[in-house]
């Protein structure tokens, strides 16, 4: 099983790790008493840990390669089949959806407000992820400035309330639409760009929006942000903080369902197919008569729309927003949700959002190591399942079903 060669390699890897972690794990300078503590035991822990982990990693890699050597396609689809069979057989699907919905509805009654609040945030990221999924997962346009549209939505509500006293329900669609307009504004100049170039421009766009919000004091109140944003109202009834948070949670559930419904329809339409074709091959796509401009702009604006909606809800939930909520790291997290969950797959994005938002919360007991653990999980994920938690396979199935229906009709 484990050869001498492998042991030797793991040994060197652990030596390397000892060397790398030496300054932070072993030396501790006590600046008050001006002494240096040498924690030699830590070195041993690192060495043993790295040794074992590297053996496990190697073993997993070998198993994975063995699988892909058998047949790459077969194995990658077979485990998807299980999940997707569950989701395509209507009876199972309804049961699964029913269970998920009941769990979601019962959650605030069982758990504390804190848990509900975290869940609301996770759901917010589900909407964001599904929106970005249109742009990145379906149309294949790498957008690193997605958070800009989120900011547009949030500030639309904050400022429209601040200056004109407009209510949540009026601003909600407005925020979405304004974000969509910004999506088109970004889309027009980057029509001819692809891949890395597009990523850089969108990254810049995200920063521009944030910097404007930070520096245009009269307009956005600058870095101090906008506070006292009202929570969504419910027929004018006064609510305590707890009830209000639970109310927002239920609103969020409704929005997520609405988003899934819409995104699913878009995905399975003529437009959705055009997006995928655009992702696969831009030149062939045009040669087949697809209007590149129209299709790309539709992707940008529809993607941005959801970010705008999510932004309005975010502003209403936290009641305070500042430009610091909309840094690049947010874009990166949303992108990770899409990539980790599985590009182009709705279920994948939902699970991705849950994992990426809830995991850091529940890893809090690891205190200072939580981000380290989080990073390690991400790396392992991408090594062992680069296609994401649930890769998208929608096409084979839906069309298969339609096809047999046709066959019977003919």
């Amino acid at each position: 099983m484990i050869t001498f060669q492998e042991l030797k390699r793991s040994f060197f890897i652990s030596l390397w790790f000892v060397f790398l972690t030496f300054p932070i794990m072993v030396i501790r300078v006590d600046s008050i008493e001006k002494t240096v503590q040498w924690r030699w035991m830590n070195m041993l822990y690192v060495a043993v840990g790295a040794f074992i982990l590297s053996l496990i990693f190697r073993y997993m890699m070998r198993r994975k390669e063995g699988q892909s050597a058998d047949d790459d396609e077969e194995t990658s689809t077979s485990d998807q089949h299980l999940i997707h069979r569950w989701l395509t057989v209507p009876r199972y699907r309804n049961i699964i959806y029913g269970v998920m919905l009941t769990l979601a509805l019962v959650l605030p009654l069982v758990f504390s407000t804190y848990q509900t609040s975290i869940m609301t945030t996770a759901l917010l990221y589900v909407v964001l992820g599904l929106g970005l999924n249109i742009v990145v997962g379906l149309a294949g346009l790498l957008d690193l400035g997605y958070v800009a549209f989120y900011a547009v939505g949030a500030y639309t509500y904050a400022l429209l309330y601040h200056f004109f006293g407009m209510s949540f329900w009026i601003v909600l669609p407005l925020g979405g639409m304004l974000a969509a307009v910004f999506g088109i504004l970004l889309g027009i100049p980057v029509l001819r760009l692809r891949g890395d170039y597009l990523a850089i421009v969108t990254l810049g766009f995200g920063e521009i929006i944030r910097l404007i919000l930070e520096n245009w004091g009269e307009f956005s109140q600058g870095p101090s942000g906008v506070s006292n944003i009202p929570r969504p109202s419910f027929f004018g009834i006064d609510m305590s903080l707890d009830t209000a948070l639970i109310y927002i949670y239920y609103l969020m559930i409704a929005f997520v369902i609405f988003t899934i419904f819409i995104v699913n329809r878009l995905q399975n339409s003529r437009l959705g197919r055009a997006w995928v074709a655009l992702r696969e091959d831009e030149i062939a796509c045009q040669a087949m008569g697809i209007d590149k401009m129209k299709t790309k702009l539709a992707a940008f604006s529809l993607g941005a729309f959801w970010a705008g909606i999510a932004g309005v809800i975010f502003a209403a939930k936290t009641t305070f927003i500042s430009p610091r909520s909309f840094t690049f790291i947010e874009s990166a997290i949303i992108l990770s949700i899409v990539v980790l969950g599985g590009m182009g797959s709705i279920i994948g994005v939902i699970i991705g959002a849950m994992v990426l938002i809830l995991l850091p919360e529940y890893l809090r007991f690891l205190s200072e190591y939580r981000m380290l653990a989080f990073g390690a999980i991400l790396v392992c994920m991408m090594v062992f399942r680069p296609q994401g938690i649930i890769a998208s396979v929608r096409r084979t199935y839906t069309y298969n079903k339609k096809e047999t229906a046709d066959g019977e009709g003919a």
Binding site: I283, A287, E403
Partner: protein, 263 residues
């Protein structure tokens, strides 16, 4: 005399200082199979790219006959998707399928330019959109049947054998209901058996009145299929005529085999 469906005059294309196409005149009549041949680098694919709107030519006219309007329409300045809308559909020399989509979906993309529904339709799924979707699936299915790819229908395009991928490209182009089908080296990389099947496929398509312009290096295929051959070298026309004429044309022989030094 009926109008030619593709009417190209004085087509010139410069890339910096290099003249890739020099004053090309070419007509394709309805129901005709025309072959475009020439040594490597003669400008054949450049010609295709100009005609289909991927390149904008430096000079010249490209017109296509629009049956509904009963007159020639200039393709100059049109984007590739508009050209396809006007009825020119092409395949690519190096296969350009949508590899992560199923075979059926690839053909369905071809129907894109003949259908209309957009965001609103996708969201509402109204009767018209559903009917349109149904029509797309039906037509795509029929085309796959004709091309003989039905058994691969739900496979990813990338998993198809090479010959089938080439045929799928043709199927996808046919789905756009082209007035003229442009095939860029359809037999490239095929084995003899696959080439024979391809020839009979193209003959079948042509028998239904489809006009075809094809680039090909396989001389047997060109000679057996085409009614007229257009020979290019260094971006210029060097000969045009029936297969029999081309076979004995001294300029063509010179371009392909070179000249004897001491002649």
């Amino acid at each position: 005399m009926a109008q030619p469906i593709l009417h190209v005059t004085g087509l010139t294309m410069d890339f910096g200082g290099i003249r890739a196409l020099n004053n090309i005149d070419l007509d394709v009549n309805e129901g005709e199979i025309v072959a475009l041949i020439g040594p490597n680098g003669a400008g054949k694919t450049t010609f295709f790219n100009c005609v289909t709107g991927i390149y904008q030519p430096t000079k010249g006219e490209i017109n296509v006959y629009n049956k509904h309007k009963g007159r020639q329409i200039s393709l100059l300045g049109m984007k590739p998707n508009q050209v396809t809308q006007q009825g020119l559909a092409r395949t690519f020399q190096n296969i350009r399928l949508f590899s992560q989509m199923t075979v059926l979906e690839n053909v369905m993309i071809g129907r894109h330019c003949r259908t209309k529904s957009f965001i609103i339709g996708a969201l509402l799924r109204d009767k018209r959109t559903l009917r349109e979707e149904e029509e797309i699936i039906q037509k795509s299915h029929q085309i796959l049947e004709k091309i003989g790819l039905t058994r691969y229908e739900n496979e990813f395009a990338k998993n198809l054998p090479y010959g089938a991928q080439r045929r799928l490209e043709i199927a996808r182009a046919l789905a756009t209901e082209p007035v003229l089908l442009l095939l860029d080296e359809p037999a490239a990389g095929m084995n003899p058996q696959e080439t024979i099947e391809l020839v009979s496929l193209i003959q079948e398509i042509a028998a239904e009145g489809q006009s075809i312009l094809l680039i090909e290096h396989d001389m047997k295929l060109v000679m057996s299929l085409s009614e007229r051959i257009f020979v290019m070298d260094y971006g210029k026309r060097i000969a045009e005529g029936t297969p029999e004429e081309i076979r004995h044309d001294p300029a063509v022989i010179k371009a392909y085999l070179g000249e004897e030094v001491d002649a």
